[in-house]
Subunit: 109 residues, 2 copies
Amino acid sequence: MLSVENLFADIPRVRPEEIITQIVRADDIRIERIVSFGQASPPGFWYDQETNEWVLLVKGSATLCFSDGREIDLVPGDHVLIPRHLRHRVERTAPEGETVWLAVHYGGA
Amino acid sequence: MLSVENLFADIPRVRPEEIITQIVRADDIRIERIVSFGQASPPGFWYDQETNEWVLLVKGSATLCFSDGREIDLVPGDHVLIPRHLRHRVERTAPEGETVWLAVHYGGA
């Protein structure tokens, strides 16, 4: 029943597509690990989510952009709460090595 | 409205009491950072919680014990889902430096 897993495990060495792994899924929340290898949101693409998202940058680096014009650079340990329906995009992730995110989605409408 | 904070910020240099900082508090979840400086649960003390707790060891090391006799050593990146009412205790945290945990509580009865 109890099992320990590691947030840094099972990351391929060759640069692949972004990997999203569901860690916890319950009625009210979803916890995911996201591993990026230099990926960014497609040009013109904006996330517009039904849930609040608390995101922690665990490893690597990234830049988030918001529809109000704010741009936020993230380094390991940085975390930000993105309220539902605040439009945002990932402008960049570190081109070298992997960027590991932890995302907690909650409070769907 | 949007603000970035860092999980490793504001940790005192002298070894103090354990620090629990609430990061997100909503109806359905609570996200906390816990910083330990060698602390463990008091002898004979067991947590018996009303909520599920997903816990990630971010920095340092620790050993968790469970009432079924299991003992789990955690290193950075390790995470474990502790179902509500599974009795557990923190047997030890790293004696040197700080141990940083991220805890997500959800699904209260």
